[in-house]
Symmetry: D2
Subunit: 213 residues, 4 copies
């Protein structure tokens, strides 16, 4: 699985803790982490939480990533921004049980975590536990398993509902503030990771144009 | 303020605890609670979490409610469904600090809470504390206050982003599964509360038609 | 390791959830669970939280158990009672990180957990995670490991401090309310588990007398 | 009420946040805060968590303080040390509901909080909420109130149990490591606060001797 990591500007100083916790857990499971930034508070490309939503929307809809791991101070802003995009289902995960239940019941494609609120000493332990509960098991199996069918049915209904309420991602990209979009994709390694993995030529082509503009 | 309470089917048995906690807190503050159900597990109208999203979308976009308080087992499903709708910004609130920060920083118009996960003995105390942190203070003031301007700016950007990604609510209502919509608005008191308070004639008229069909 | 499980009367109905979670985790690790009750709300021997303290004191000081897992509604009462006894160092554990850090830093011989407050749907997941963090690793190694020496030193000082402040357990047993003591050890399987495992003949003999009185 | 604040060495840098949160809440309620240190990581008197236990034991048993507010990285070490002392009943408080329930059910005379684990951005909000739940209401009233009598009875039993298991505080002071004791009471303002408020001449006299030695 291709897992994209995106860190909001206010928490950029915690880049190393978060990145290490994620790779410690998921690389031994055979997953790949593409870290889309921020890498430090000094990065040129400042990713605010609305930009995280745009980026998550691009990555999920183009299939450049299978899953997005993100967060901000409380996890709320980046979560709202992700969920504002078509096809992105982003859970707010605070503890390992949240992570597990989100994976089993909601089976979304993104999580947002608080990297400031409640994030004290030894918080890396909780990060790793949350990632583990999400990535070391098969997701979408339901909890308890007897309710798997109902849970799958509701996920399907939600998915159709969101498809009805949102424009497709390419339309969204064309409609939103183009400066905002350009900044959102201006991270140091966006080009390297995205264009090599995108499976949507329409989105790729459009973003090439934006970057060239 | 008109506060709409919506309780998902799996948690309908907790109706009284949740409704009491909410009214205990907000009525003395001068707010009104419109309880859109479910009222008990025996209700005829079974509200699943995708329906909660539809209902929240209707109430917020028509201005029949100023704020939606909802939840499901983990709070995640109803939160995702609310956030799938245009104009709805729904925070997942677990503890009082979450409630306060969501109110001050994100200043959304809905919250979703877990009414099963972590909901044990004395959980009514936490419910009341969360409602208090949200409703007894002016929201959107920022925390810390020095960052109010940045926070307001990001809220504005998120709001525009979501406006660009979503169809308007009337279009959504016309596009989604009409049976699902009809069930979502078939609660015992939907008619009473909604039509008296809706400020969007287009939505009202359309829903009258759905109910009559 | 011999792990004693003790459940307070108000939470006796959760016996099966707690017992299963504990044995699911620790038996595959090669540990033995001795369940000292309560087994159901209908048990004749009603264990209040002060009695849990007495029982924990007996089991730890006689070495009939190496570790005590207990709890009450909030975990606080049973924790205070355990910590009132000589030689018992009981941590209040709410989440997996608490469990891990208590094991690594404080390396006590008992934990108390809330089995009502915060104990909602899927709470068995958190129980198992907590037990895992405590029992699947070597305890007392320090976290972070660089601080192991300081942590061990403070544990030693605390241990001496408590030894200075408390009477020895046999004296405590002789001094406390003998009816309370008798009820504390009147659980259905106390005799079977305790006398076979106690390594303190003085305590064993005294308790035989109490039970015979 | 005289509330003593004691901060462990590892968290001394958070002195201002904790002290402000406590005084913000309790001074308007008419309580007095005596801050026994540490005041900064640079203090000469380094209070380790075992010393916090000694200090809490001195303050509670001499009635120089009515209540002790303390904590360490996880709250566990300082809590264990407090509970190792005669007459001290110290709750581990993490969230506002913990604080409220401890006050109502256990009605102890000390709390220990985690000032590192889970202590992230905006943690001052949670501190204030916890203090409020503890100090703005009458304690020991029971929750729910119908269970007040049972709760009071168990508190009485626990209190007698602890009295039976511990030596009296003056004996403890004479028995423990005298260097440790001297450091524990060597804080800058110990003399000023303690000797003016102690109601136990035996303890006061003994500590005068220790300081003079």
């Amino acid at each position: 699985m291709n897992i994209a990591l995106i860190i909001e500007n206010s928490q950029a100083a915690k880049n190393e803790i978060i990145h290490n916790a994620l790779t410690n857990v998921v690389e031994p499971l055979g997953h790949t982490v593409h870290h889309y930034g921020m890498y430090s508070p000094e990065d040129e490309a400042h990713l605010t939480y609305p930009m995280i939503g745009i980026l998550a929307g691009i990555l999920i809809n183009s299939k450049a990533a299978d899953f997005v791991v993100t967060g901000c101070g409380t996890g709320m802003g980046s979560g709202l921004a992700c969920n504002a995009m078509p096809g992105v289902f982003c859970g707010l995960v605070i503890d390992p049980t949240d992570a597990f239940l989100f994976g089993q019941i909601n089976d979304g494609n993104a999580i947002s975590m608080p990297y400031a609120k409640g994030f004290g000493w030894a918080a890396e332990l909780n990060l790793e536990d949350c990632y583990r509960k999400l990535f070391e098991v098969e997701r979408g199996v339901g909890y308890p398993k007897e309710r798997a069918a109902v849970m799958a049915k509701n996920r399907g209904i939600l998915s159709e509902l969101k498809a009805a309420s949102c424009h497709d991602m390419l339309t969204v990209l064309k409609t939103i503030d183009q400066d905002l979009l350009k900044t959102a994709i201006s991270g140091e390694r966006f080009g390297e990771y995205f264009f090599a993995n995108s499976q949507d030529e329409g989105i790729s082509e459009y973003l090439r144009g934006v970057l060239a503009a």
